[in-house]
Symmetry: C2
């Protein structure tokens, strides 16, 4: 069945039902998941899976999800519809005829800020306004709790309130410590927050395959990832049909979608890094902003003078974006257009509220290169860019490594907090050793759990296929579950006031041999149930 | 093919050959594995897999492995052959006829110390004697290196010399900081060392299945586990045929074999904990010592007054040994026979050099119960018992938890070092969250890597089936590889002078797209190669 399932996976998770909490300030409906337990009150947990797990919701990917935020956006009175940019052949990698993925059937005119207003959550937060998005995430973070469950932990300076209030969310955003990636053109979005004073989040990457990909397949990859708990999804597609496939994904995505616009820009210039121009890049930003991309990875921190710092590395520059920009800088012998035009990039982002994910183009690609001069030089530049973006009311998070042995992980968090002024950190792993290809979801889960504990706000997942090939459906699920458990281990260690509730419920079920409850309370009920069945087939064995 | 492979897995690992290093003091042949690299010098790595991966070695499990230590033992002149204890029906769980696993074909009279001598590595080390075992492990730990490769790390007080010398080994053993589990009746053993100033080791558990098990299957489980890197193997069999199967395992085991003698003793009294007696237990210790078991888990730290401390726990007492002893203590309302006769247990162990693995019968079984009063009360008792065992020249390591959130892991190591006088720590995981049944190899690898970094000397593996069922062949491999990578991540973080060499070799191969070298240098070449092939079938794609 692998890799060829076109249908969209829907339906509840075992013993679970979707419940919706209401707002006090705004008319909002916040989705949560309630897990039934045989002899206890149900447990309510965070739920990023969207309408796909609500049996009362009808899913038709050709229509897209219903608008969650439409009314909220209009109510602010600062946005306008306009005739967007026209789609060009280049946007789809010059795919034509049968090779062209059909355009998404429902096309709306895009929204943008009126004049040069900033319509970002940061701008509203600074103005003292609690948006519906802020109240939404506040309710979501509390998972139906009315009080703290346990407070034991070491939070390394993070401030985790017993209950998250909308005002707390506003303050965290106003101070730059958290972001709500929420492009005004992504009206289907169920808002979520990324910041170290909130639950640790995880991202899953998806992307089209060179061999085969239909829009159903691509949408299903996203749906599958969020079913198991991905909080955001990055679409890293390359090649043909990027524009149309992205449209299909965003229109069906209840989670924020991130991209690396540089990848598409490169396709537009035939894959030749040196031929990239600010104009092509700028056009790509607007294209994607109009579609509703919620955050952009921008590798503006790669500066010309840093490139020689990588010369003695064991693995040079491993970030794709980083190596594209390094090539460009060396060829033209000048600072990159990303760095030089960063102001203008901010001007685009503030009009749509696209958040920045400032890319770590010089991240280490091996244990040997961890925490070196190049990496930290770039980090300091990312801190400078953060200030520029904040001055423009843009939301910012910072990307981090990569490959780091355990004893060097804490320094990454400390340096990031120091140089990037507490903007949220978003790391890939890090992998804590390089000697286990095929198991890099695990080598990196060790680093991810630790850096999440230290304060990283979002963890980018790694699948077993990392360094080896493209993840299939099973790999994506394994990667997501592995990162959910790492993020949860981090929440527990930080002393997140609600985290241990689920561990305790599962432990009680374990102690009382309530097998079904154990399965249902776990991150992956299906796998747990199946593993148990393998060696204890009879129903009788499961009771007592 | 799963679960039904009777043949023993033999043959080299990919691109690898077995090499043997010689001693300077003793006539010894220390096995190492040399991995060929396409454009570099070969890399020599630690090799626990025994003669099974040496194509020049003939394997016949009915004969057993050749004697490695026979001559060494005789040379000391302190041991004697004697008529051992007779095997009884109870030893094999009263299995008879077709149900009785055949006895191992070659039966030798057992060895013991002459008179009341202590023939332990500790006794020799204290006497200033460098045994062949000590020189063997010294050479083994250096993995063919002649100098330190890298020294970057945070060792938390561990002392990691650039090169391990036999004298360093002797001193570490003399001071109780390391053990060489090496029963004088396990002559087939390739000695290895467990201590925080050496490479972090891992243990794999095996055990017969109630449904099916032949001696070939049980031997193969051990061979399979060491092929992937298990440094010791614990035989946790219960039920029928325990004695005979253990004989088959030990006679074919190049690694130390550990057991929990209480499990077999319980079988001898029909599974009724209250009926256990010192006499039955003592008889079991002698039975297993004569067979060559290298270390015994002894739950002597469970004291009567501690049992009420577990009353308010979420998961009570989860250690099987701990709950057997708690039951016994409560029923008889007295201290356990393990505690009361600990002196006599030492007298047995010193005659055969069976090492102690002091069991943590009150270890936490959930995040909620971590680091509680019961756990630490027992730990302090284990420290007292350590002193008693040391006074008798017995080698000791200490078992640790279990289930511990990240922020409470360091305290486990600190308390253990303090109360157990730096005796080696041997932990199960710990699992850092309880919400991922089916993924507990990963929840625990996070904790294992961290506690290994902090100073734990050996990590007991956890498989994906933990809490759910019996591991099959794939689960065992997954568990072993997961723990190898965790142990290696710990070595890297401690700054083990040789550890990063393999990471660097693999990273260079990665940077240069030398796919075959990447696979071969990884912990699991077969899986890496297979994953790569799935998405990039053509050979052409693999080059460049």
């Amino acid at each position: 069945m692998k890799d060829t399932i076109p249908a969209i996976t829907t339906g509840s998770l075992p013993a679970s039902r979707k419940v919706y909490a209401s707002g006090n300030i705004h008319e909002i409906k916040v989705p949560l998941r309630e897990i039934a337990i045989s002899n206890e009150e149900p447990l309510t947990v965070y739920d990023s899976s969207g309408p796909y797990t609500d049996p009362l919701s009808t899913v038709d990917i050709a229509t897209g999800l219903g608008e969650v935020r439409g009314g909220w956006l209009q109510a602010r009175g600062e946005i306008e519809e306009y005739d967007g940019r026209s789609v060009t052949d280049a946007d789809n990698g010059f795919a034509t005829g049968a090779r062209l993925t059909p355009a998404f059937p429902v096309q709306r005119p895009p929204l943008r800020a009126v004049g040069d207003r900033a319509v970002t959550q940061l701008a509203y937060a600074r103005a003292g306004i609690i948006t519906p998005e802020m109240e939404f995430v506040a309710i979501r973070e509390n998972e139906g709790r009315r009080a703290a469950h346990s407070r034991d932990g070491e939070a390394f300076g993070a401030e985790l309130p017993a209950l998250v209030t909308p005002e707390f969310v506003r303050r965290e955003i106003a101070e730059g410590r958290a972001i709500i990636p929420a492009n005004i053109n992504h009206r289907e979005l169920e808002p979520m927050i990324i910041g170290r004073n909130f639950k640790v989040k995880i991202n899953a990457n998806i992307g089209n395959s060179a061999v085969t990909s239909s829009m159903e397949e691509e949408v299903e990859k996203m749906v599958w990832a969020i079913r198991w708990g991905a909080d955001t999804v990055m679409d890293l597609s390359t090649g043909r049909n990027i524009h149309n496939i992205r449209d299909w994904i965003i229109r069906n995505a209840p989670v924020p979608i991130g991209t690396v616009p540089l990848y598409q820009a490169l396709e537009k210039v035939g894959g030749v890094a040196e031929d990239l121009t600010w104009e092509v890049f700028r056009d790509t930003l607007i294209e994607q902003a109009e579609q509703g991309v919620d955050y952009f990875t921008i590798h503006a921190g790669v500066r010309l003078h840093m490139i020689p710092m990588t010369a003695k590395r064991v693995t040079g520059i491993v970030s794709r974006g980083g190596s594209i920009m390094a090539k460009w800088c060396l060829h033209h012998h000048r600072e990159s257009f990303l760095y030089e035009h960063f102001d203008e990039i901010c001007d685009i982002c503030r009009r749509y509220d696209v958040s920045f994910s400032l890319g770590d183009g010089l991240r280490p690609g091996s244990i040997a290169d961890a925490n070196d001069e190049a990496q930290f030089a770039e980090l300091r530049t990312l801190g400078e860019l953060t200030k520029i973006a904040w001055a423009k009311d843009c939301q910012v998070m910072i990307e981090g490594p990569g490959h780091v042995p355990m004893h060097k992980i804490k320094a990454n968090m400390d340096e990031q907090l120091k140089h990037c002024h507490e903007a949220p950190f978003y790391t890939l792993g890090p992998l804590t050793t390089d000697i286990a290809p095929g198991y890099d979801h695990i080598t990196s889960a060790i680093g991810a759990a630790m850096i999440g504990w230290f304060g990283t706000a979002m963890l980018c997942y790694v699948t077993p296929k990392e360094h080896l090939g493209l993840p299939d459906r099973d790999d994506v699920k394994t990667g997501v579950i592995t990162y959910k458990l790492a993020a949860h281990a981090a929440d527990l260690a930080k002393g997140h006031p609600g985290a241990q509730q689920r561990d305790d419920a599962l432990s009680r079920a374990r102690f009382e041999f309530r097998w079904e409850d154990q399965f249902n309370l776990g991150l992956d009920p299906d796998t747990a149930r199946e593993m148990h069945d393998q060696t204890m087939p009879a129903e009788a064995h499961k009771v007592a």
